[in-house]
């Protein structure tokens, strides 16, 4: 995923959202740098995790330009081809497609 996203970085924003309340942004950022991830890290506020029903690690949600979910997967789901397709969908959404 980290190899694919840079191609689409201008089209949509990738947020890696921490799920462990004990892991604050600085720790998430240190991990991101260590892993060479090309996306932003973010911390969920309020009841975001509960509201979005994030129950498993590595849950992924794609939101189009109107904020509608076009993709949702959990841990172990998806592959490079799928993500490329999703990213293309998001990019097309950004372009008004």
């Amino acid at each position: 995923m980290k190899e694919i996203y840079p191609e689409f970085a201008d089209d949509f924003t990738f947020y890696a959202v921490g799920t462990d309340p004990s892991e604050r942004l600085d720790k998430l950022e240190a991990y991101r740098e260590q892993e060479g991830h090309p996306w932003l890290v973010a911390e969920a506020t309020g009841t975001m995790l509960k509201d979005l029903k994030v129950l498993v690690q590595s849950t992924k949600i794609g939101l189009d330009s109107q904020g509608v979910i076009i993709y949702r997967d959990g841990y172990g789901q998806g592959d490079e081809e799928t993500w490329r397709q999703v990213f293309q969908e998001l990019a097309a959404s950004a372009a008004g497609g």
């Binding site: 973010a42 992924k60 904020g67 076009i70 990019a91």
Partner: protein, 147 residues
């Protein structure tokens, strides 16, 4: 031929009244025509914008397909569905057509709009789902922990 002033005045009054009634009658007929013409015009205007409506409603009706779509990476078709409520679609209909916002149910699955959320970023700023949608910027959220 002598005509008394009183008689002359009376005659003039009669003529004036006759002309006045005639003019008033003519004016009423004209306004009646104008009014009926305006109604007809309004009816036309009311029916004319109905043409783009089916396009919009077709797109809106298509959204439940998204809701029915199973959660999974294989289902990417909802993005192929034309977004009827997009500003461009609204502009095509008529000059006074207001772009509608796509009506989407709130939920956490494909085809739904997630409940409002907010994320804190490293620079101290906050990004909300509302802001993302308003800016028209797509987003991809991946939830993780470092362990």
């Amino acid at each position: 031929m002598n005509i008394s002033p009183n008689r002359l005045i009376l005659s003039l009054i009669v003529i004036a009244l006759t002309l006045g009634i005639a003019c008033a009658s003519s004016a009423t007929d004209t306004s009646a025509l104008t009014a009926s013409g305006a109604e007809a015009s309004l009816e036309k205007q009311a029916t004319a914008p109905a043409n783009p409506a089916p396009v919009a409603s077709a797109g809106t009706e298509a959204s439940p397909e998204k809701t029915d779509a199973p959660v999974g990476g294989s289902n990417l078709n909802p993005m192929d569905t034309p977004v009827a409520a997009s500003p461009s679609a609204g502009a095509v209909g008529s000059a006074d057509a207001v772009p509608e916002k796509k009506t989407v149910p709130v939920g956490v699955f494909v085809g739904e709009r997630p409940p409002d959320f907010a994320m804190l970023l490293l620079d101290g700023s906050t990004v909300t789902s509302e802001e993302l949608a308003l800016e028209g910027k797509p987003a991809f959220l991946m939830f993780f922990a470092t362990w």
